[in-house]
């Protein structure tokens, strides 16, 4: 069990280190890829905790998701290369306070609460995947479907919002979409 705790701590520190790097670097692509590697470290933590399917899924999804975030950061940020070294923050003191309070509360709960018996042995990976499959298509079929439909509506909504509004030929009709 010591090895698991050790590796978990290693990947945890990596995730936290990259997480801090996200907000400290001035170069935007470097900050996006720092978040990417922080999420990958979180994925590796899942692997260490023997939930293999979730870990592999997290690692796979985050690679593409954060790369797409990287190009959006290049589009929308003032100095994406970070050569100018601008400070892009405001209300620093308040946010540090809020961050510390949030982390402190969670840590307090983690340390003080009595978690009861901790299982030592987790089911085998292939069995976990099978059970998760049964759960997905069995009891929580509704959640699974709504999650799928939500992603679909989100895709359509995001594209609809992002598409430039064509100026309709205003041949007298009132309904000119701004």
């Amino acid at each position: 069990m010591g090895a698991q705790a050790f590796f978990l701590a290693v990947f945890g520190l990596a995730a936290i280190g990259f997480g801090v790097a996200v907000f400290r670097t001035s170069s935007m692509v470097r900050s996006a890829l720092a978040l990417l590697f922080s999420q990958t470290a979180v994925g590796c933590m899942f692997l260490v905790m023997q939930t293999e399917f979730l870990g592999v899924l997290q690692i796979m999804m985050m690679a593409t998701e954060m790369s797409i975030m990287a190009i959006f950061m290049v589009m929308f940020m003032m100095d994406p290369g970070g050569l100018g070294g601008m400070d892009m923050t405001h209300q620093k003191r308040f946010s540090i306070g809020a961050g510390v309070v949030a982390a402190g509360a969670a840590i307090a709960v983690a340390l003080l609460a009595d978690w009861g018996p901790v299982t030592v042995q987790a089911p085998a990976a292939a069995m976990q995947t099978r059970e998760l499959g049964h759960e997905l298509l069995g009891r929580s079929m509704l959640i699974f479907e709504t999650a799928g439909v939500t992603i679909l509506t989100a895709m359509i909504a995001a594209t609809a919002v992002a598409i430039p509004v064509q100026r309709l030929a205003d041949n007298g009709d009132k309904e000119v979409s701004e």
């Binding site: 170069s27 692509v29 470097r30 890829l33 990417l36 293999e52 399917f53 592999v56 899924l57 690692i59 796979m60 690679a63 593409t64 790369s67 797409i68 990287a70 190009i71 290369g81 050569l83 085998a124 990976a125 292939a126 976990q128 995947t129």
Partner: protein, 298 residues
């Protein structure tokens, strides 16, 4: 021990691929050419462009190589010859190979050059086209084997290979694999005619050697994945199992290498349009067909 064997076969077939590629380009079969050109790269000056993003510039080729090797870690050459037979092996290959995109974005953004940057972001567009066409055929393959474990997948193809069982899936996976390895008809990030080498234009010296080795190893890994998923891995009459998977992997890798020379580069707009409007419906159809085959034909 198995790690050494698998790595040896991986880099050995990458070296064999380099020899074959050299043979097709120069017309002369020189077995030592890849080693000599590799050493020559070591000798050459390694140029770093002005104000690069040094971390990305250094990390990209290494990450590409690590990703290619990591992808090969879960691929079985023989029933017992696999580095890590993960419970979700088939998905792990896709998870590892998703970082080819990250490596190319780093290689694009690192050297602070217009061609490289455009090449890097173009590969992001290419990923949006091919990524669905890799995951869905893997789902169909896993459906037939009723497991994501690679050795089980190969085991399920003992009597009938998947290329015969689900040819549509094979075609889609083969095309998506070539797009993932940015080989010739899909070499948008390193387009020689449009971006003058694009992503690997700024690399020289030892980094270029690592990048070239990584690209060849990536082709070998994808060929090994195609063999495991569709060509019945180590199954084959006379020869020992590892020999069969090696032969099939090399055959698929050489076909991936040479198929590109006979096709012009595809337009990015066409690639995305065809992959989404044609590829994904076909992939879903393939899943439906495999589902029916499993249920109806016991």
């Amino acid at each position: 021990m198995t790690v050494a064997i698998v790595l040896l076969t991986l880099f050995g077939s990458a070296w064999l691929l380099a020899v074959i590629e050299g043979w097709t380009v120069t017309g002369r079969l020189q077995p030592a050419a890849p080693l000599l050109s590799g050493l020559a790269h070591l000798g050459r000056e390694s140029i770093v462009p002005r104000s690069p993003d040094r971390v990305f510039f250094e990390a990209a080729p290494v990450l590409l190589l690590v990703v290619a090797v990591l992808g090969a870690a879960v691929l079985p050459l023989a029933p017992d010859l696999v580095i890590a037979d993960l419970g979700t092996g088939a998905l792990f290959i896709n998870a590892a190979l998703a970082y080819v995109l990250v490596a190319l974005i780093m290689a694009g953004w690192g050297p602070n050059g217009a061609y490289a940057m455009i090449g890097g972001w173009r590969f992001l567009g290419q990923l949006i086209a091919y990524s669905m066409l890799i995951v869905m055929p893997i789902t169909a393959v896993a459906m037939r084997a009723e497991s994501l474990v690679n050795t089980a997948i190969v085991g399920s193809q003992a009597d009938l290979w998947n290329i015969v069982y689900q040819p549509l899936g094979f075609v889609l996976f083969y095309i998506a694999a070539m797009a993932l390895a940015f080989r010739s008809p899909f070499d948008l990030p390193t387009a020689e005619g449009e971006l003058a080498g694009g992503v690997d234009a700024e690399y020289t010296g030892v980094r270029l050697a690592v990048l070239r080795l990584a690209r060849l190893t990536l082709v070998v890994t994808l060929a090994a994945a195609t063999t495991v998923f569709y060509l019945g891995g180590w199954h084959g009459p006379l020869l020992p199992p590892w020999a069969w998977s090696l032969i099939k992997t090399l055959a698929v890798a050489v076909s991936m290498l040479l198929a590109g020379g006979y096709l012009p580069r595809i337009r990015e707009a066409d690639l995305m349009r065809w992959c989404w409007t044609l590829g994904i419906p076909l992939a879903l159809l393939n899943i439906v067909i495999v589902g029916l085959l499993i249920l109806v034909v016991p």
